[in-house]
């Protein structure tokens, strides 16, 4: 269904496909990395990701599924006299049915969430919650002028099981890409690098509801997952699958975890680094070495009801083997930090720095890895020349001395010199839609309101 809706919008654009693979693979990627939205759909169609009927770009609105016509014409619709009670779906007169919308606001292009760079295999992977996909590109790919870059692979379709895919990370040694679903999927999925199209994951791990960030430690052979509402970091064996339990959980009032998002399990420095938005729900979290409680009414004695509160956003650092309700070793927090909805983080072990995708103010902030307290970042990338708009993902390429940013507010991933600061233009731009294509700015919305004064539709994200 989603494929259909997006395809219909795209079909109006009517762009022309370019040939792929390129005739001369030795051409530099900057010249090769061209595609149109139409060609992207062609790839998806070939791979069985798109079910658009005739494959000619025309959405066929089928009325065959329309349910029974309303009884009684204008005015009240009532059950026919003598009908059995309760009515069945087949017998009840039901208005509406397969009704085409008068208007649709939808973004047909990938919207980038998270980014992970692999310098060993020269690949970059991005997660796309808009199309429930993972795309990969050559690490050196760049858009020419305003055009989009053709991905090397695109994992997408019903067999993948991906829904609102949030974070992505890679295991260069085993050439595996990991993704975690936020909000509705509650799954961690592992695909081989070469996977493309509508393919089943190599492994699936059930993870707690509202999982967001993911990080693999090669040194520890473990992976860490952050969970927003539960205010916890769950650590699994790297190869965990199915219902395998976590090996430990960091959770509890001493941890300072508050609506955690980005995570980095640093096996070199033996630390676990977490980015927190600071939101604290109405119940105190149970220490992570004890079972979580069930939900329940206020008077059921299920845990300590404290009332919610807002704390300042923070980066908290724990021992890599932390377990249960442990206080952080260090905490970057306060007005001088400039933290504002910190999303993904990346630790640069070579240069002892940590980069933060600061979604709330459209910046990338870099701190010394060992900083603590109310400290200013050592560098901030921000401003109109940077092209940073609603950053969700960040990664550091210490080999090529580059910093990657994925924009949720634009259809781009940006590559900067690692030490870039201020309002500077990126070295390369990797577009997955023609420049200037809008983004709707929401994903998996669960509510809507109508503002009758301004004639506006309000959507919380």
């Amino acid at each position: 269904m989603l494929s259909r809706s997006m395809f219909a919008v795209v079909a109006v654009l009517g762009a022309t496909a370019v040939a792929w693979p390129p005739a001369n693979p030795s051409l530099p990627m900057a010249d090769l990395g061209r595609m149109s939205e139409m060609s992207l759909l062609d790839i998806e169609r070939e791979n069985g990701c798109v079910d658009d009927g005739g494959g000619d770009g025309v959405l066929r609105v089928e009325r065959a599924g329309t349910l029974a016509a309303p009884a009684g014409g204008a005015g009240a619709a009532a059950d026919p006299a003598g009908a059995a009670w309760p009515p069945t779906w087949a017998s009840t007169p039901m208005r509406g049915g397969d009704v085409p919308p008068a208007r649709v606001v939808s973004d047909p292009y990938p919207i980038l969430h998270s980014v992970a760079v692999d310098t060993k295999n020269e690949r970059v992977f991005v997660s796309d919650p808009n199309r429930h996909a993972i795309w990969s590109y050559d690490r050196r790919a760049a858009s020419r002028a305003t055009e989009a870059v053709r991905p090397l692979t695109g994992i997408r379709g019903p067999a993948t099981g991906m829904m609102f895919v949030a974070a992505v990370t890679v295991d260069p040694e085993r050439q595996e890409v990991y993704s975690v679903d936020n909000d509705i999927g509650d799954r961690l999925m592992v695909f081989p690098y070469e996977a493309t199209g509508n393919v089943r994951p190599k492994r699936v791990l059930q993870v707690p509801h509202q999982a967001w960030g993911i990080s693999i430690s090669r040194e520890r052979d473990e992976l860490a997952v952050t969970v927003e509402g539960a205010r916890e970091v769950v650590i699994y064996r790297r190869e965990a699958k199915g219902n395998d339990p976590p090996v430990r959980v960091v959770r509890g009032p001493k941890t300072g975890l508050g609506d955690p998002h980005g995570v980095f399990l640093d096996g070199v420095n033996r630390e676990l680094v977490v980015a927190n938005h600071g939101n604290q729900g109405g119940r105190q979290p149970v220490p992570g070495d004890q079972p979580r409680r069930r939900g329940g009414p206020l008077d059921a004695g299920r845990g300590t009801f404290t009332g919610g509160r807002f704390e300042e956003p923070s980066l908290t650092v724990y021992p890599a083997d932390a377990r249960g309700d442990v206080a952080p070793l260090r905490r970057i927090q306060g007005k001088r930090t400039g933290l504002n909805w910190p999303m993904a983080i990346a630790v640069d072990r070579k240069n002892d720095e940590v980069a933060v995708a600061n979604n709330g103010d459209g910046s990338i902030r870099v701190y010394r890895r060992t900083d603590t307290g109310d400290v200013a970042p050592v560098r901030t990338l921000k401003g109109p020349r940077t092209g940073i708009v609603g950053p969700m993902g960040v990664d550091i390429d210490a080999v090529n001395d580059e910093l990657w940013v994925s924009n949720y507010g634009d259809h781009t991933a940006l590559v900067f010199a690692r030490t870039a600061a201020g309002d500077v233009a990126p070295k390369r731009i990797l577009r997955n839609a023609p420049a200037g294509s809008p983004t709707v700015g929401f994903g998996n919305p669960g509510a809507v309101a109508y503002d009758s004064k301004r004639d506006e539709i309000l959507v919380p994200n």
């Binding site: 989603l2 079910d51 009532a78 779906w89 208005r95 919308p101 099981g161 079972p291």
Partner: protein, 307 residues
């Protein structure tokens, strides 16, 4: 915030975002107060209700915040505003309660009424709406037990049974969210994401070492709902007096609706439009006939009179 007439791939006209707003990700409720020109949102991750000016934009701070130990808010998911009686109605799946606050409440304010308890059938409450004309509060609640729409007297307080309940296998209600009520007719609109319950979390209540006892390993056919028309969601519409295990009286469902399922629904009775969000899009349907009274003529209870 999008223009009502926006169509295609368009960006929002304005955005409220940033740390100072105290908003979070994963917000599943919103209400607009047209009498006082305010936007009201529940923030599940911080146990709070935020109220913004109607024209708020950028990193605007809320003008009022309801949050604290007296509020009863643990993880509020959904919200409605009663502009006639000056009340905010929030529902919280963790406290398993519908909590009613004065519209201008702020800070650590106690609710003025709470609907909660085993008689209410409320558990995972994901939608709430209020009809100040017919004096009802309607909640949508999911659980492994009663799953559907519960209708309460607007002034209900405590552990009270709903006066109507729409749910059961014939209703096909399973994984739904937001509710809306047409003030003109009292018709009840529900956004359903899919017709199968969400998979159970393995470790919500279990120990670190093993999954919860009642957890069932999903079979391979449950990998995705996409593309299965029988399992995709819909917007369902019921009459104000409906009750029982019944199908909707009107529905938006099918391959042409451009939605796999709807997570949210809002109404514009003036234009006869139903606005649904789901997947990653907003769809607006022009269906003025859905704003005519959907009347029940027979059933287990007495016949009702159209307003």
């Amino acid at each position: 915030m999008f223009a009502r007439l926006a169509n295609g791939n368009v960006g929002p006209e304005r955005v409220i975002e940033g740390q100072a707003t105290r908003l979070s990700r994963t917000m599943h409720g919103i209400a607009y107060d047209d009498r006082n020109d305010e936007i009201i949102l529940p923030v599940a991750l911080s146990g709070a209700i935020l109220v913004f000016r109607g024209d708020a934009q950028g990193e605007a701070a809320p003008i009022r915040v309801i949050q604290g130990s007296r509020t009863g808010l643990i993880r509020p998911h959904t919200i409605a505003v009663d502009t006639v009686n000056g009340e905010i109605i929030a529902a919280d799946p963790s406290s398993r309660a519908v909590l009613v606050f004065k519209r201008d409440a702020t800070g650590d304010a106690a609710p003025i009424r709470v609907i909660s308890g085993p008689k209410t059938l409320l558990l995972d409450i994901v939608g709430v709406a209020v009809d100040p004309i017919r004096n009802v509060i309607v909640a949508s609640s999911r659980s492994r037990g009663p799953t559907g729409i519960m209708v309460f007297d607007r002034l209900a307080d405590g552990d009270v049974a709903p006066r109507a309940y729409i749910g059961g296998p014939n209703s096909r209600l399973a994984h739904f969210r937001q509710l809306a009520i047409d003030p003109g007719t009292g018709n009840i609109f529900l956004a359903q994401q899919r017709t199968r319950p969400k998979r159970m979390d393995a470790y919500v209540a279990g120990s670190v070492g093993r999954p919860r006892q009642e957890y069932r390993e999903p079979d391979s056919s449950e990998d995705s709902d996409f593309g299965r028309l029988t399992q995709t969601g819909f917007v369902a519409v019921y009459g104000p007096d409906d009750t029982g295990d019944i199908p909707p009286r009107a529905i938006i469902k099918g391959p042409g609706i451009r939605h796999a399922g709807a997570g949210g629904v809002a109404l514009n009775p003036r234009t006869g439009e139903i606005i649904a969000v789901g997947g990653n899009g907003i769809s607006t349907y022009l269906l003025p006939e859905f704003f005519q009274l959907l009347k029940r003529s027979r059933g287990p209870e007495t016949e009702t009179t159209p307003q």
